[in-house]
């Protein structure tokens, strides 16, 4: 599985990528919304993990611009009803940033589908 990971916090990228790579998945890392959209439109991913609050475009904004359907996880330290609704309207899931386990479980489910 190839996963795009977008987050402007290098420490978050490092630790999340480490978890994903340990599952045997390939991870491409980007640091902002604009790069995330570029990468997501130039190559095919099995899943996108997008930080909500990034410079350039937010996670939800990136998801909105996507032309091809791909599972998107909006990764945020501040998941609330508003973000949840926004994400769901675009067919995305939200995952709390301090719950990497939940992200991994969702991606596992995707990988074994």
């Amino acid at each position: 599985m190839r996963i795009l990971l977008a987050d402007d916090e290098p420490s978050i990228r490092f630790i999340v990528a480490l978890h994903l790579q340990r599952r045997g998945w390939t991870v491409d890392e980007v640091a902002n919304g604009t790069e995330a959209l570029d990468s997501a439109t130039t190559r095919a991913y099995d899943a996108l993990v997008l930080d909500q609050r990034m410079p350039g475009l937010t996670g939800v904004e990136v998801a909105r611009e996507l032309s091809t359907p791909v599972p998107v996880f909006i990764f945020s330290a501040f998941v609330d009803d508003h973000l949840d609704t926004q994400a769901r309207m675009l067919g995305c899931s939200t995952v709390d940033k301090d719950d990497i386990e939940e992200l991994l479980a969702s991606l596992e489910a995707l990988a074994t589908r």
Binding site: E9, S11, A31, F78
Partner: protein
């Protein structure tokens, strides 16, 4: 045998005095509204003296007075002290023959008080604060409708006092609400700010089979995130200390500025910025508290990272000032700050540029610098960037 004093003290005196304090009226300056009432009362009864009194623990204080020079008298002989014992007007038409008053020094003495009518000023919860009274040196009669009108005037005095109390309470309540809002915003900011390091730490904790003793990058990440959390908590704690004016006394020892620069860069190595050490003056020292100096520099650096462009260059340099201080400057390529805002960003209430997320980072940093005999300077050009400099005493010329 009860003393004269005991007889003049109501049984609920402590609660009555608390009520007096609540209205916060004692020793306040003269006031037109009350002065009009005493003038009216004196005219109504055709007497030379009328006062509005507040009966304090051991004195009778005049809030308003017509025909009296002094501001207060002792409580013991005062007829108002007797008047506040009751709920109804206290009427003495000829004090010289009235058994309640004939021995009173105000009656027997120089003043020769003969006529006294005092209407208690009753609070809504039933305490008498003092009286509205009319006084004459000659015995006289008073008609019931005059007493009724005096009672109405006393009620107006109380209405006025209640109104002022309500207004003051409304202002105090608003101040409390404002303080609560302020604190809530800071707490929300702090809890916001700790999420990223906490998420990273949880991520490390849940890494199965990883060891921070063998994986250097993991170990460095762990160390930096803990240092970051530690710094956030220090800033928040110090904020409460600065607010309470009980900032712990900083240590004063030689601090190697180059070492602080290196440590600050190491702690922020994971952040989304290119932090560069441009120090040429290796070996410069100040006399300060090393933990506090690092805390201030981290604040300035954190500020630069947050407001600078992603991955932007930030320079740390060791500098000295014309007035003999030395320190560390942090230069960013951020959006800069308008000249009009340069002072405001250090304000306790300034929020947009506060870097700890609590919004009080620069306010705390400045307090820390000043507590060590130093200061923080800022220079900025909108569109080009900002330079924050912390300057501290070098101890040169100081005999120890």
């Amino acid at each position: 045998l009860a003393s004269a004093r005991d007889e003049l003290v109501p049984p609920d005196e402590a609660a009555r005095l608390a009520a007096v304090r609540r209205y916060d009226i004692l020793d306040t300056p003269p006031d037109g509204a009350f002065d009009r009432i005493t003038a009216l009362a004196a005219r109504l009864c055709d007497v030379p003296i009328s006062t509005i009194t507040i009966v304090d623990e051991d004195r009778i204080w005049f809030k308003s007075k017509v025909g009296v020079e002094v501001d207060e008298i002792g409580r013991d002989p005062g007829l108002c002290a007797s008047a506040v014992l009751g709920e109804v007007p206290y009427v003495v038409t000829d004090a010289a023959i009235d058994p309640r008053t004939l021995d009173n020094p105000l009656v027997r003495g120089e003043l020769g008080l003969r006529f006294y009518v005092g209407v208690p000023l009753r609070t809504s919860d039933g305490y008498s604060l003092g009286t509205l009274n009319v006084i004459d040196g000659e015995a006289r009669e008073i008609r019931q409708e005059q007493i009724d009108t005096l009672s109405d005037l006393a009620a107006v005095v109380m209405d006025e006092l209640e109104l002022r109390l309500a207004a003051r309470q409304a202002i105090e309540l608003e101040a409390v609400r404002e303080a609560t809002r302020y604190r809530d915003a800071i707490l929300a900011g702090v809890s916001h700010e700790v999420r990223t390091p906490l998420a990273v730490l949880k991520g490390i904790a849940s890494l199965e089979g990883a060891s921070t003793s063998t994986d250097e990058r993991l170990r460095a990440t762990l160390r930096r995130q803990v240092a970051h959390l530690d710094w956030l908590m220090s800033q928040f704690l110090d904020f409460t200390h600065v607010e309470g004016d009980r900032l712990p006394r900083p240590r004063a020892e030689p601090v190697d500025l180059g070492g602080i620069v290196a440590e600050a860069i190491e702690i922020t190595a994971d952040r989304d910025a290119e932090v560069t050490d441009t120090t040429t003056d290796a070996g410069a020292t100040v006399v300060a508290d090393p933990d506090r100096v690092l805390q201030i520099v981290l604040e300035l650096l954190n500020n630069a990272v947050r407001f600078g462009p992603a991955g932007g260059r930030i320079e740390l340099d060791v500098v000295s000032s014309d007035d003999g201080l030395a320190g560390i400057s942090v230069t960013d390529r951020g959006p800069g700050i308008d000249a009009g805002d340069l002072e405001r960003i250090f304000d306790r209430s300034h929020r947009d540029r506060g870097s700890t997320g609590s919004g009080v980072g620069l306010y705390v940093a400045r307090a820390l610098a000043e507590a060590q005999g130093g200061r923080i300077e800022v220079a900025s050009r909108p569109g080009e960037g900002s330079r924050f400099t912390v300057l501290l005493p070098t101890g040169a010329g100081v005999t120890r």
